[in-house]
Amino acid sequence: MTRKKVKLAFIMNDSARKATFKKRKKGLMKKVNELSTLCGIDACAIIYSPYEAQPEVWPNNIGVQRVLAQFKRMPEMEQSKKMVNQESFIRQRITKANEHLKKQIKENREKEMTEVMYQCLTGKGSIANLILPDLNDLGGLVDQTIKDISRRIESLKKAAASKSVAAPPPPPLSPRPQQVTVGGSGSNSTNHDMMTRGLMMHTLEKRPVVDNMSGMGGMQRTQWFTDWMNNPSEQNLGLGPGYEMPQFVDNTNLVWPNHFFP
């Protein structure tokens, strides 16, 4: 089976055309057959060619007549509703292809914009060269990302909260409703534990990277702490700020200024 791309136009070369016809006609008949068998439906195909006086048909003359009779029994409207000819069919294909194209272009633009966003984040890319519409889209993407991050932060904090609430009574061996709750949030809390451990790993790995980020400004970090302290959602922990933090801070001594935690 050749995999050369064939140009969608009438084949001028007579012998090539005849050869193509023979192959493709055979393939077409096979496809009709498969469709009919796989889906258990009635179908027929009629092909008139300059090479044969009689048309080539599937399944056979009787079968075709039967299907055509069935076809003609249907109301005119039903017959023509899904009827296409070359022209209308190709138009349909063009419309569909256009839709796919639009979608793909949009998707690619989003991906490209994400690249730009991350590059600007690290100072590798400059926004000075962007035109206004691109800049607007970038702003939108940044907004959306901030929203997603905030949402994720909230859900993580909730998970931490439920873990800390469920933890106090040591769970008995036999499963009980409370156990289920712990189990329910347990997946989160396990994640939480992993995150804690992960953080310790991360910070070690990320050291040089974090220093990069500090290019954003040492003020940034202080800002972060003030914000965090003032963040009312932290109060959900019910234990005041600083409860969970010791776990985070344990083996890290580089991100937070030590004076923050007495």
Partner: protein, 227 residues
């Protein structure tokens, strides 16, 4: 978000499909593919075809070149092609004459689609490469609380910078526009086969300044197009 890759081509047994949903999906796809193959055969070899297919639901689909009805009549009558009235001939001839051009259009569109798909793959590779390098590019679910907070702050800084720049461009524009008049505003065309002219201005990812020389295809009436 990356699309989940499909199962790809799989060998199936040629027997009636048992699961109704699969059957319907298969019918839909294969019918479409069948018509496509028939259409190609007509174009490539200049033959006349009719295909009639009944759906599992009982609806009937048909494809015909030049026309389903004429092929059916021809077959059933078993006599040479029935002559239509002259006017119908003309209409049909006109219709048939437009086919080669339509094929060209279709080919064009399919080529562009392929190009965009390749671009998509390239972009995905880029992301994968950066994700392995930089922790902040990882999907949000993979980040811990501290990382998330840090990322969020950086993002908010970026947002500020972007807003400042955008405002600056806006004021620059209004200045130049008020000077030269709003003569370059063009509406963005959507849809139709001319879509390929609508591609957004290519964004230069490197920090080179060549992007500034791209005349925006949106035609906002910036200074660029006027000098």
């Amino acid at each position: 978000m990356a699309k989940k890759p499909s199962l790809g081509r799989q060998k199936i047994k040629i027997a009636k499909i048992k699961i109704k949903n699969h059957l319907q999906v298969t019918f839909s796809k294969r019918r479409s593919g069948l018509f496509k193959k028939a259409s190609e055969l007509c174009t490539l070899c200049g033959v006349e075809i009719a295909i009639v297919v009944f759906s599992p639901a009982g609806k009937v689909f048909s494809f015909g070149h030049p026309k389903v009805e004429s092929i059916i009549d021809r077959f059933l009558a078993r006599s040479p092609h029935l002559t239509n009235s002259t006017s119908l001939h003309l209409v049909e001839a006109h219709r048939i004459a437009s086919i080669p051009e339509l094929n060209v259009q279709l080919t064009c569109m399919l080529n562009e689609l392929e190009a965009e798909k390749k671009r998509s793959e390239t972009l995905d590779e880029m992301r994968k490469a950066s994700q392995s390098q930089f922790w902040w590019e990882a999907p949000i679910e993979d980040l811990n609380l501290h990382e998330l907070q840090q990322l969020k702050d950086s993002m908010e800084e970026l947002k500020k910078t972007v807003t400042v720049q955008a405002n600056r461009l806006l004021t620059e524009n209004s200045n130049s526009m008020s000077f030269f008049g709003t003569n370059n505003i063009s509406t963005i065309r959507g849809g139709g086969v001319d879509y390929h002219e609508m591609k957004p201005a290519p964004i230069n990812i490197s920090s080179s300044s060549s992007a500034a020389s791209h005349v925006p295809s949106y035609g906002y009436g910036y200074g660029h197009g006027l000098f």
